[in-house]
Symmetry: C5
Subunit: 369 residues, 5 copies
């Protein structure tokens, strides 16, 4: 990689499947290098609010019995025991739990008897653009969010819960799930805008100064757009099916908000599609500009060669050793007083004539002519 | 940009999202540089008509109580208070209001309890082709239209309202919404026609005189077509869903007119698709013509070189210094009276022979042969 | 255009929209240069038949009261009054009338209370392939057909009505509409066949003699196929929806005939798609053949150059002026009796050797080798 | 064609439409050069079986009254009278009869009151791959099969009827139709396999020895695959719609067999799609290999030229005629005893140095490096 | 193949269709070279478990009467008798049996009265990636699995049955079918991951060192991805239709597991699509990098030639034999004491000037400039 300088490479992060092929379904096998889980609870009702770290799922019991809505966020999936504990306490389906730790899931929603299970992907700008899995469980009075690593895009949601502004705390856990999904989608926008600006910067100079580094850069951008598309497209379908299928855990009012959320996802997809089209176009312009420049170079060089070739022939002629005394037709020019001067005049006339001809034929114009 | 002369660049206008990621939904955050709102009311019934500027939404009350239909047009979205006032007075949904000020929405229709909310995009030929957002609210006896900037395509509609010709004033606010949407779509036609004429002009000369400026121009056209398509395609879906879903605010008769309106949108999309296909084709012709010209140039130059190379060799031969007195086989030509003349004759024969051979092989024809 | 000789250009005919953007809907604004309407009536029943020109729509009254089916054909749309008269007499919807004079409509069918409105496009081989609009109104006892210009593909239909052969005259106006639509589609076949033959002719020679004129010709063909596709595809949908939606004006038996008609449209589309694929393929073959020929030329020329370059060097060596009397190693060849002959022998051996090497390496083969 | 040797050309067989545009529907107009019909009857029941040629449709009456199933096969469509007779005797719809003689129909199924009408296409390897039309009528106790020419793929079916093995003779005419359609589809497999083997043969050598003949061959294969796809795709839809739409003439048990038949069609389409993708890929590999070879040639030739150019310059220098006696700096090399030897040594060092440099830069490697 | 070294070729394995075209349906015709069947039974209930080889289908009777679930696995399809015996004992439909031995079926599910019939394809990395057919029959108390060759991906399933861990043995045969299908899909993952790593390795070096071997490798990968896609896509549809269509043999609980299984298939398809896009992109980068390198080479070589051509002309001039005594203007330079030195100085200045000019024009930069 170092060899290629700023080029971050086209590769999409390869997932590591944790389960062995053919293993029993619904078994939680954690990634040995995944960070240990850190549990953080936010519980709230219309008038009260509490936020505290938890040591284990058991510590959540008092909150669950006291507050209308409890949101447990787990950062780090490195401990199978903790995750299984959550599964037992909240009656989560084993297949869903397995999906939580196999963090290469596509965004989706799955309805189980007692809960809804959402998977979304958070965009993370680390060394390159990566997507982390966010697993959400929505129950009657709780929301569980499992994330691969600490650090997320939910701080504005937490701030709004703390503020108690608006009617947020008066709504149920379904609204919290909406708020979290919307925060995920909203976090896509700055990244898409940044990619768009990179495209503009490339476009600005590509016609005048095509550089191969731009090809690599365009590929990086294309890869990133592809990542975002893979994150946004199935999420949109998941949200739409949540809106469509009347699930008792989703209130009607929340449905309106989810519609707005789906709308944002469509905007993301729309922007990504536009940028993909633009980047394909820039690539074509690049190729056309490069080939144009190269042709210009070759043409000019060839014109120079072509002008000198007849002149060299002429010089060769008068370098021939035919004996001037063999007869009156044997290179009499060599004996003529102005022969040499005439040679130069003729040479310059030929060169000028050829240049004029090429110019007349339009072969020396700028651009592609 | 200046460096590239007339090339306006491929960039689509990047939207500026006003809400922070994760912000509370339904909050109106205006663009600080947006112009201040200017409210203008047109109220009418079958026999009366009034048109006046309003200082605030409160000033609309007398009109609303007196006239069957009140159309309030707001140019400029720079004051959150004014927009929130409209929201309160007309019971507009906060999510819809948020969409009004985030002016990067795709065209759509959304049904709320008390009103229908339409988003369309007006094409604006400023420095380049841009699209401004038009937000329409249709209520029982009012139509609200929010526009980003002063200047729109509704003057013909206003003229028809003033004239009172036809049955316009006898119809409800739903017909006014149709008329506004139709005016938006109609305003696309001259722009599409203009792009089509640009394509024709390029096509007219591209085979005989391919120029790189045409590539840039084709990209501009492609970008503009893409913009129009993004504005027209979802609008068509929105209109179709309005026709399909029986909403009490839309009269049956208006539905027939909306069908006509959807028909116009399909025509726009059809023309845009045609032009996109034509521009892709022109691009291919351009590349083919350029490579043809370049090959022509290179071939002619190479032919010239090839003719002189054997001649130069021949001249070189008779420039060799083998001593003519070393023996009878040692360059006896140099001593021959007609040696030099023969050299020229042979040279001319070789050149003519090669030219003839190339001509015979068809390498010197015009075109690609 | 003249510059490009036989090339008719790729341009699709640009429509001229008659209505101003934002104009009132349903207003008939005729093209000032359109020809004046010529009305021609054919009225018939099982046993009688009459054909006569009409001066105005009022003249049709006696026919309408006497004959079961009256077909009024109007060639030329240059008089708004005449068209509005038809609208009034037959109760045609203003939006449909507007579509009649705005002759850029896509093929479609629209159901109104008292009539069905069809739009189809007739292919016309004028200077280039163009499509004229055919507007058909089907009422209880009448068929109105509006055409842009005199001259159509309906003569066989008229002949069959005159002959009274088959059961044509015993059927209702819906069968006449079917017969007219079928005549339109049938008229597409000879044009598609002709385009197919042009493709075959190009294909026949393109591998051996690629010519740039073929590129222009292929583009013309592609444009024409595109035109036909735009005429046929929506027509098929219109016919299918007529078959599907049970409209009282269409008898069950006619539906079977319309199915046959839709079948013909599919055949047209199928042929057009095939030809489009073939023409794209021919284009690829052309490019491949051209680049092959050009490479051949360049290669042969380069081989010639390459052979002479070492020879010229050799001649240059023996043209050097090292003094032969400077020492025994100073160009002793020049003094050797057979030096010059040896030079020629060596030169010929080098040339032969290089030619042999190139042949051995397969660089002189025919084709792309 | 002869010029191009084995290349059979890309052309699809152009159909000849027999009906004039605008002609009356349902009229049987035969191709004047089509062969005269030959009628052959096979009639059978569980225990008996008879096979005999018929002179006319009237001769079929005794068979129809005696045997449960009568299969009449007609080879050759050159006699309108015979075909009309069949139409009258079996109550065939005129539009279906018209389709029988216009042998360019797409595969389809059409339900009429008294019979089902199937169209399929038989692949025929004549001079090139062609498709003949097979028209099948299924009635209560008969099957009619119309074919364009003698010679078909039904011999195995006839053999199974003669053998009386299995339960074939105990089933109704619907099973016979299934068996005929299945025989048609089965006959596609060997042809697709053969095309696949051709592709493999081309692939085997295309990287090492790209030849332009392969381009022509790939186009032939592509054309043939296209033909097969056009025959198989609509046939699959026709069979599926037969399975789906419960028609009384098709027994439930036969439906299971038709499902198997549709499955075979999908396999054909799948193979054709795979081969199309492979042939597109081979074309790309061909282009890449050709351009690679050509570049190799040009590069080596250019390297040779480049090496000799400085040497020729050097020889030119010492061929200059500066007088050695003009001064001590005026070409003293010419007088030096080892000047000439040194020239050669320097020349060889320059050549070796350039070769070494080119090798070091990786310009002389095999492949594209 | 050996000629091309490591290139395994693009060919997909050509199937060999066993049935003759037009043969009777439902006849089992085995491949003469297929291995002889080896039957292996695993029978189990909640508390007991037995695993044993069987000599014939008759030996299964005791197991079938004793155990709730009997799984008979048959490796090798070389004996029509054995397969027909199974068909008779378990009431398998002849068409399904025919599909078992014609091992080129697409993945599918077919519902028969007494059983469900699944076809899936196992990926096998032999000399190249191949797919073997797995045919599964699910009955009330049995599962039959037919495989082409010994060696499969079911060992983890067998291990789980032996262990008796989880509730596997308490579930019905439908869960066993799910487990087998899931094992097949799970076995796709390591192969897709391996292909992804190959793509990464190619990507890592393709910009700096494009090699033609990479083209061949990319084609191999593309072919393999295509194979996997052909195996996974229809399998997903088959599983989805099993979930959707309520078949009594599939318990509701198993449906949830099948949904998980379908989810895995979508992940496979998603990865394959991503890799296809990446490999297409790598191919484009390869072509761009190759053409870039080649242009670099040609350009540098041409620059060298261009510099020497004027110098050679100059040397030619002073090699001319104009007599210095013909007059004062006849090559007086030859007599000048510093003429020769001046020649060299001028030559070096010209060369430096040209190099400087080329550098100034940006023709000597690295990359494409």
């Amino acid at each position: 990689m170092g060899k290629r300088g700023g080029h971050r490479g086209f590769r999409l992060r390869r997932f590591k499947r944790r389960s062995k092929p053919g293993a029993a379904p619904g078994v939680v096998m954690v990634d040995p290098v995944a960070p240990a889980p850190v549990i953080r609870a936010i519980a709230y009702g219309p008038s009260e609010w509490i936020e505290q770290p938890l040591a284990s799922v058991a510590d959540a019991e008092p909150l669950l019995s006291k507050y209308p809505v409890v949101w447990l966020n787990i950062d780090g999936l490195g401990d199978a025991g903790v995750i299984t504990d959550f599964g037992k306490r909240f009656g989560l389906h084993p297949l869903a739990l397995e999906d939580v730790v196999n963090t290469h899931q596509r965004p989706k929603v799955e309805a189980y008897d007692q809960h809804l299970f959402f998977v979304a992907r958070e965009l993370m700008l680390r060394d390159r653009l990566e997507t982390d899995q966010l697993s959400l469980f929505l129950g009657r009075n709780f929301v569980l969010s499992f994330q691969e690593y600490a650090g997320d895009c939910f701080d504005p949601v937490r701030a709004r819960l703390r503020d108690g502004a608006g009617r947020f705390r008066t709504r149920g856990p379904d609204f919290l799930v909406y708020a979290l999904l919307d925060a995920v989608i909203d976090s896509y926008f700055p990244i898409v805008e940044q990619l768009g600006e990179s495209l503009e910067a490339i476009e600005e100079r590509i016609l005048s100064e095509p550089r191969q580094a731009d090809v690599a850069r365009l590929h990086d951008i294309k890869r990133d757009l592809f990542q975002i598309r893979r994150a946004a497209w199935p999420l949109r379908e998941a949200i739409n099916s949540t809106i469509r299928d009347a699930h008792p855990l989703i209130a009607d009012e929340t449905r309106t908000f989810l519609r707005d959320c789906a709308d944002h996802t469509i905007q993301i997809i729309d922007l990504v599609e536009t940028d993909r089209e633009v980047s394909a176009d820039l690539r074509d312009i690049y190729l056309s500009a490069v080939s144009n420049r190269m042709n210009q170079v070759m043409k000019v060089l060839t014109i120079i060669s072509t002008i000198f070739i007849p002149l060299t022939f002429l010089a060769g002629v008068y370098g021939m050793n035919f004996h001037t005394d063999a007869g009156p037709l044997s290179m009499p020019e060599l004996l003529w007083e102005y022969g040499y001067v005439t040679f130069w005049i003729v040479s310059i006339l030929i060169a000028a004539g050829l240049l004029g001809l090429f110019a007349y034929l339009g072969w020396m114009g700028k651009g592609t002519r």
